[in-house]
Each structure stands twice: as C-alpha cells, then as structure tokens.
Symmetry: C2
Subunit: 577 residues, 2 copies
C-alpha cells in the first residue's frame, strides 16, 4: 500500500500521490484521523465543499492475518460536529489493499444535481454518471453494479437517506456474500451524499498480493495470533455460537440493559430476543447460518444468516446493539420483526445503532406505539427511506428526534446515540461515552469487557473507582487496534492471553520490516486520541461536550436504582496522559 488516491469532485480528477513519510506508519483510523486533522478546517460545514471523506484500510489489511479486513472511513461528522472514524468489514478494505491504495481522499463538491459513480481500479479513479442510480436503495445498487461489472466488483454505496444528507446515513459496503456491512456511525453517508457520490465501485482484478517483508516471521506470528482468537472463550466460543447478541442475557442480569428508552436496566421479555434464542431460531430454519464472517479471513464468524421459516433471507450482521435497540429499548418482542427492521436499515442505509436508539425516542414522543415492529418497519422504509418530513426528523438521528419533540430523555453524547449499555449501572462505559472523540461509542473503549465480562480483570460496574483509568487504557489501545485493520474483538484475547498482543505487533513488524514495540503501539494510540481531540477542540468542543445527558444524573435506573454520579472534574481526568 504505497499510494494515495486524491479525488476532486469539483473538477472530477484523481491524482495519484506518493505516501508522505509522516503517513507511512499509519493505517486505518490513525491515517484517516491524521488526514482529516491535517486537511479539513475544523470549523467547516460538514456538508460543505471543505470537508473531505477519507478511506483507509488498516496496516495489516490484505495480509493473511486473521480479522484484518477492515476499512476506516473518516471525515468531519455532520452528526457530532467533530472528527469521525467509522470502520467496517466487507470486501472493499482488502480490495484497496490489493490495489496498493493506502488512502483515498475525496475533496470538494460537484455542481448540484449531478450524481456520480466513482470507479476505482489500478489506474486510478474514473467518474461515471450515476443519475440512473439516484433514488435507489443499497441492495438494488449492489445488484446494478454487479450487473454492470461482475459479481466480484466492490461496492460502497448510499441509499436515499445518504443522498438527502440525513445524519444517520451510513456508507454501505458489500460483504463477501453480496450483503451489507456498514461504516455506520456519525453520518458519513451524508458526507458522501454531499459530494454527490452515489456509489464507489472497486475493481481489484489488476491488483497484487500485499507484500510481506519477512514472510516466515509473519506466518509464525499469524499462527499464534489465530490460536489466541480460537482459545479465548469470547472469540472462540461465545461470539461464534451466539453472535454479539450473546450479551442480551448478560447485560440484563447485570441490570445494565437499557429498556424502554433508558427507563429501566432490565427487561422482562429479554429472552425473546437473546442470543441463545436467536441461535436456536436461526439453527431451526432452512438456509439459516449461525456463523458468518464479515470479511475474508475472519475466524470469529460472529455474524449470521437469519432467514424466515421458509428459508428466505431476512438479514445478516444482526448485532447485539441493534437487537437491544429494537428488541429491548423499543420493546419489539418479535425477533423476526427486529431482523426485518435491521435489513431495512441496511437497505436504506442508516446506522443500525442510531436507527434503533432514535426509534425509542420516537416511541417516547408518541410517534410510534411502544413495541410496534410492523409500524417501525414501515417508518424505516416509507418515512426515513423516502426522506419524508417525519423521515428527515428521524433520519437525522436521536438528537434530532429529541429536539423535534422537545424531549429531555434523549440518550446522546456529542449528538450521537448511546448504545446498548446503561452508563449508570455500567459506569466504565459511561466514561467512554462521555470522553470519546467520536461521540457516544461503545467500541471506542469497551469497558464492558472488564466491568461485565471479566476480561482483563474485573472492575465493579457500579463503583466509580478505577473506571476512568480503565476507559482511558482501553481507549488508547482501541485507537491503535483501529489502525491495524483488525476487528475490535481481538481485544478480548489481547487482554487475557499474554502472547496475543506481541503476535499482533510481530505481524506488523514482519509486514513492514520494522521493529515496533508495545510502547510504540501505546504511543500511537495516544497520538491518535490527541490528534482527534485537538480537531474537536478547534471545532469548538470543550469539556462540556465530554458529559452525559443531564437526565442520567437525576433519573435513577432500576434494578440498582443508581444515577450517573461522576463530577466533571473526575471525567476530565480521562485526558491526563
């Protein structure tokens, strides 16, 4: 990966540039955040000509390393107003790596009204008229591009919400089975839409295998690393069998499962949508698969193929946060309904976390009856999917719904919806929500590991002690992991199995012929967080943005009847590094 594709949407050109020395050791989030911080004016309008959309595969993407097939997308987020990195599986990351594209930077905007397909291949980027695709949702776009090219063509696209620049819009990425993974969070689909890019197609047929400096060393380390994945109970057992949805029963038991728009911490009907139930449902149905990978080389296989009782495809990539959001927080007790809504969100192209969190707020506002999966599905397809006035309110995210209906129980930080873990009863994740440069984001520093799953030790989720340090350490480590192209779940073995993290570092060293140490990796994480925070500060963020919504402070959550009780000063200690 030795070149930068710099695309200008105003004059429809692509320059192929050498990789500046300062970017050579960066990939994924480290690279997208570095480029956005260096090239995007922090106070620019996120949907204006001065924002840039950056794609970068991780440092190890394209190698045979397990779990390494993820792409980062970065920009100034219209949802948070701050810097954004969102990474996804699918096929595009490995295609970019094969084409030697370290990053693609998309700048400026074309004339209003014209829509484009960017076609990426070994020679650069060409610009095709995409007016025929306007108004199409994602699955149709994928079909159209496969018909235009071939079934192996890479596709990153937006649906109508992205065209309409709605802030919950994601960028959808074709996976190996022609289904969809997503750069979900932060409204990057709206940024793509603001540049009038309907779809990016990737033809890697003239690409080459990624070069590895020391193949033997790489192979040896990759073996240790893969073994660690398989040996750890979470990545070797829990996730492969039940998917991420294994967490429903665990969080319910912990009293940290936000229910009915964060009114309660546990839910009577939890087992109707739990990972265990989901496993049995999938296993009992024709064409159902309880295991499925989001990218080639995944050995965890936490995804699935969820079918109906006739064996017709309903959805895949049906994650805990989405099931929680629909099944528990919106009280939709039918797992099939939840799966259909998940698929609709893939199809119209909105973040399935934001989408689920905002529907609960809409239910609180009386827009949709509590628990009504059929009406939620209709709202997804007919309102958000068609960008009606109601659809715009909803499609602009949780904060937008709260503002439209004048509500105060609106679970967002920096404008981004709070996912599936209540910060009052799982306090470590509350610190991550508050401090993340990305807005509320459980993956930014997954304190659930240590608070709930007892991975990397145990810190009582109901106590304040140790949470800031836990969140800080995990956030620093995560920023580094997000730069490797690795899926976030490698954190479980990395925290518990001593040889895992050294094997990861060995793979990077063998790939590039360098000699990073563990300390270097920590320094990289710190550098990324500080770069992102500096961007946000320059965009106008202060520590007042590093706070949870006020209602968490005065509404105790059952069953533990606890509130969010960190002072501002205590939260701000996160940044002492």
């Amino acid at each position: 990966m030795n070149r930068i594709f710099r695309v200008n949407m105003k004059d429809l050109t692509c320059k192929i540039e050498e990789v500046p020395e300062a970017w050579a050791g960066l990939g994924g989030r480290g690279l997208t955040s570095t480029i956005v911080a260096a090239e995007v004016p922090p106070t620019c309008h996120p949907l204006g000509p001065n924002n840039k959309l950056v794609f970068a595969p991780g440092l190890l993407t394209g190698t045979p390393a397990a779990q390494s097939g993820r792409m980062s997308a970065g920009a100034k987020s219209p949802l948070t107003g701050g810097i954004k990195e969102s990474n996804a599986g699918g096929t595009s990351a490995q295609q970019f790596a094969k084409l030697g594209i370290k990053a693609m930077i998309i700048e400026d905007q074309p004339e209003a009204g014209k829509w484009y397909e960017l076609h990426v291949n070994n020679d650069g980027v060409t610009f095709h008229d995409a007016s025929a695709l306007k108004g199409m949702q994602n699955f149709d776009v994928i079909d159209a591009m496969e018909a235009k090219y071939n079934p192996k063509i890479g596709v990153c696209s937006i649906g109508i919400p992205g065209e309409e620049r709605l802030m919950a819009a994601n960028i959808s990425v074709k996976d190996p089975d022609h289904k969809i993974r997503s750069h979900g969070r932060g409204g990057l689909g709206a940024v793509m839409g603001s540049k009038n890019i309907k779809v990016i197609t990737i033809d890697d047929s003239e690409g080459k295998k990624v070069e590895i400096a020391d193949k033997d060393k790489f192979r040896a380390a990759a073996k240790v690393f893969a073994k660690a994945m398989l040996d750890h109970p979470v990545t070797g057992e829990g996730l492969p069998i039940y998917g991420t949805n294994v967490l429903i029963n665990i969080l319910n038991e912990a009293g940290g499962l936000p229910t009915k728009n964060f009114l309660y911490g546990s839910c009577e009907h939890h087992d109707k949508v739990s990972g265990e139930t989901m496993h049995d449902v999938i296993a009992s149905r024709p064409n159902g698969h309880t295991k499925h990978g989001c990218h080639a080389g995944c050995i965890i296989q936490c995804s699935q193929v969820y079918t109906d009782d006739k064996g017709e495809y309903i959805t895949s990539g049906f994650e805990y946060e989405t099931v929680w959001g629909l099944g528990i927080n919106c009280m939709i007790e039918s797992l099939d309904d939840c799966a259909r809504i998940d698929n609709a969100m893939d199809n119209i192209g909105i973040d399935s976390i934001e989408g689920a969190v905002l529907i609960a707020v809409a239910m609180e506002a009386g827009v949709i009856p509590w628990g009504d999966g059929k009406e939620t599905l209709r709202v997804m397809n007919e309102e958000i999917g068609k960008a009606t006035p109601l659809g715009r309110i909803l499609g602009n995210g949780t904060k937008s719904v709260g503002e439209a209906y004048g509500l105060t129980r609106v679970p967002v930080v920096k404008g981004q919806g709070i996912p599936a873990y209540d910060p009052r009863s799982v306090k470590g994740i509350g610190i991550t929500y508050a401090t993340s440069t990305m807005g509320a984001d459980h993956t930014a520093g997954y304190s659930i590991a240590t608070n709930i799953l007892q991975v990397g030790g145990h810190i009582d989720p109901l106590q304040k002690e140790g949470q800031v340090e836990l969140s800080r350490n995990l956030s620093i480590a995560t920023a580094s992991v997000d730069s490797t192209g690795m899926c976030i779940f490698i954190a479980f073995p990395a925290l518990d199995i001593p040889e895992c993290l050294p094997a990861l570092i060995d793979m990077i060293n063998a790939r590039y012929g360098i000699s990073l140490t563990g300390d270097d990796v920590v320094e990289l994480g710190k550098y990324i967080l500080k770069t992102e925070k500096a961007f946000n500060d320059a965009a106008g963020f202060t520590n007042a943005d590093d706070r949870l919504p006020e209602f968490f402070e005065y509404e105790p959550i059952p069953p533990h009847n606890v509130v969010w009780d960190f002072s501002g000063e205590e939260i701000d200690e996160f940044w002492n590094f």
Copy 2:
C-alpha cells in the same frame, strides 16, 4: 419594585422574597441575566427541570418616562444553548412594576400532562388548571382570559408551538389594544411550555404607582429625554411615519438587503414592500393607522394597525425584519400576504424573525415555492401551528430546517437566524451577529446605525476598519439600555443628541435616589456582557461559536461582490474590554 416572586412549578408554590442587595441596582436584561447566571446550571437541558424562566421589568418601567415599558424575559435558550434575554413591550411590564415585582423566577416542572394558568396579583401567584386552554392559539387565549377576568387583565401566553416546545416559539404579550407583542427570540415560549404554563395573567388592580425619589428632578429629565426622541430624525420622523420598515429602501440602496435566502444584496421588487409603500397602503385603508405604540408611554409610535381594504384588522407590530424576511428574503411580493403571515406568527406564537428566516431556507429546500405567500400562510397555520412533522422541522428554527434538508446556506449564529442585514456588505453588524451572547441578533449592537444611517458618526459598511470597536461600544451600551426598560430606539437620539443620555441617567438617579454616572452605565453594560459570556462559556461555547456560517466566506454577495473576510482573531478582539 421591591420584591421577587419565586414560583415553583413542581410543588405549585410562590414565595415572595426580598430583593437581594446585589440585585437592587439591576433591572430588565441586567437582572434576568444575573439571575439566570447565578441560578441555572449552564449545562442543564433547556427544557428540563433545572432551567428557570425569569421575567423582569426595566429600572424605569412604571415611571412616566417615555419608552420605558419593556419587560425582559430570560432563561437558558433551547435554540442557542446559551443564555437568553428577549424584551418586549405590551402591558405586562408596567403591570409588574405597579405590583412592585422586580422579578418573577419560575422554577422546575409539574407532572407531565397538566397545564396551568399562573395568576399574578398583589398577593402573589395562584395556580389555575388550564387544560381547557391547551391547543388554543394566542388570540383565543387572550379572548378567553379577558372573558374570565376583564379587558384590562395582563396576558402572557404561548400557542401550540410553545406547548410542543418548538424552538422558534415565543412568549406573546398582550398590548394596550388587545393585540400581541412578543418576547420573540431564542425559544422562550418552549421554556414556558416545558414548565406546562399555558398563560400568565396579571391583575394589577391592587398595585400602586411606582415611587420616585426625586419627582422634580425626574420630571425635568423626562422632558429633556422626550424632546430628544421627538427631535431626532429617526425617532421623531422616520420611525413614526414609516415604522421600522423605513429600512427596506435604505438597505436595498446599500446592497445590504439579503434577498432569496442571502443570495443577493438587493432586490428588484423592493418597493413593493417598502416602508413608503406600506405607509400609503395603511393610510389608504379604513381603520388603518400608520402610528401605534407597543406600550403606554411610547412617543415614537413605530408600530401600526394594518387593515385590509374593507378595514378588517390584519396585523400590527409589522416590523422591518419580518417584512424583509417574508417580502425580500422569501420573495413574497404581496404586502398583504406578508401581513397575514405576520399575524399568523403572532397567533401561533413564533418569533417573526426566526419564522421569516426559516421559511426562506425551506424555500431553498424546495418545501415551499419561492415567493408563495399563500402556501407560507398555510404552512404557518396548518403545519407549524399544528406541530405536524414538517411543522416541527420548521418550528424548531432556521438551523433545524437547514439540518433536516442537508443545506449549507443556513444563516444562523449560535443556532439563531440572522436577520435583515447582510454581514458581508454591512460588516459592523456581522461583528455583532458573531459575538452576541444571544446568537445572531441585530439589536444586540445595532451597527446599522453608524454603518448605514450615519447615526453616531459614519463607518464605511464595506470596510473592516473600526467595525469591531463600533460593535463593541454599541453592544456594551445596549446591554445597559436593555436594563432600563427602554425601547432600543432611544439609542438613535442617545448617539446624536448630547443631552439625551444624561437625561436618561438623571431619570434613573431621580427614580432611585442614587447618583449613577455615565461611567457606571458603561460598567453595567460590560458587567452584563461578561456575565452572559461566562454563562455561555460554562455551557460549552468557545470562540468557534463567535463565527458566521462558512458560506459567507466563500459566496460573494452582489452588488458589491464581497465576502465576510474577518479572521477569527479579528473577531475575538471584540472581547478585549
């Protein structure tokens, strides 16, 4: 004015408190901002239990001083997220003064679903069930309250947008002719709605005349002051004859009249809605009055009674900013249509500046055809007035419309719509828009006076030199004037006629038996601005919030083809005092 009414909406009580010594010298904006800064947590949710709504008449309100009948309302604004003061004429200020109420502070929230009338009289506040008024717009509420009490009852009410906590909702105040003046800007109607207060009624029948310490001195100063009003060409001639709408032709000539959502700086059809035309239309119609005061004691009489050709009332308080917004910025060429829309905004209770600015953005989004007054009227009554999904998008203000439709030409600062003067071609007002603690607000430091009207000297509106100092001095002076209960237009004679400002200070001194100097008045203004800024800073504002929207920097405006070219550092010099 020697007592504070402290109303608690949770336990439905009113405590009558003595005025703390620190508040004794304050009134109007100085007092509301001091109380909000002291008692409201800056990071609280503006619609939650911790926000407070404060009303305070000015220091001279209730005296016979000309122009002194204005009331300030203050709170944390849901529209800007910062501190807000919005002052209005009408009858309530003088009624509060007569009852000796220096401020009324409304705290906390009642049980959801219950609506209240607060009845204010000499004994305090009583709480009446107002469920029968829910869903009523303002004129009906006024009628209902006059029927319940008597035609002299004071009324401050909200329409359905206020009940629904929409951010453009204002607080409507009955004027001497049973029509409406407004605490317009910043969504204070939503704050009132969040406390489930549909209406405040004021019975001042047991009130007393305001005491004046030195009656002879007061009388002499009041005479000098009133003469200055009548002698100045703006307050003695321009405003009484043409109303504030005298400005259409002047700004058009200057190239500073934002047209078609800030695309152009002048407008071909300007004379169809100019003050001169409006004067002739009103004068030609039965029951039309070209002069009208918003409160007893007004001698400028810049308001009017605008009737149709049969003599039926259409509107009053039909201001330049509203006529500009509808007639020029939305391209609605029919003055009658504009007047009907103005009346609809009074009736449903939304800020007529925000309302006009947001409609232009909605026209840019394609929601309403350009120039369509009939459809705009329908949208006001049937969408915003009934809080439909589209009505919520619009009723939440200009920024909300821009976000819902993913636009970048969205004229707001700190979330509040930019009024009737283009900052690119009238640069002094741009500094005020950028720096005002209130969000974009022409009245916060009316640089138009010196840039365009040549009042208080002349500074070329197209040059940067001197604008920051001009805006700073005017902003400091305005903060003081807003504390007196005086209408802002006293600034014109105060800037040009040497004996005017001393007479104002003499009146304050004679009223309270004190001895303020001109320096004290300047210090008061500085104190107010700094208090407000400290609140905003603690709420999370930075100098990135003291900036104009980015499009002003890259879209030149004809006819001068100029952009907004102040650097951040230059703008920040505003705060060097």
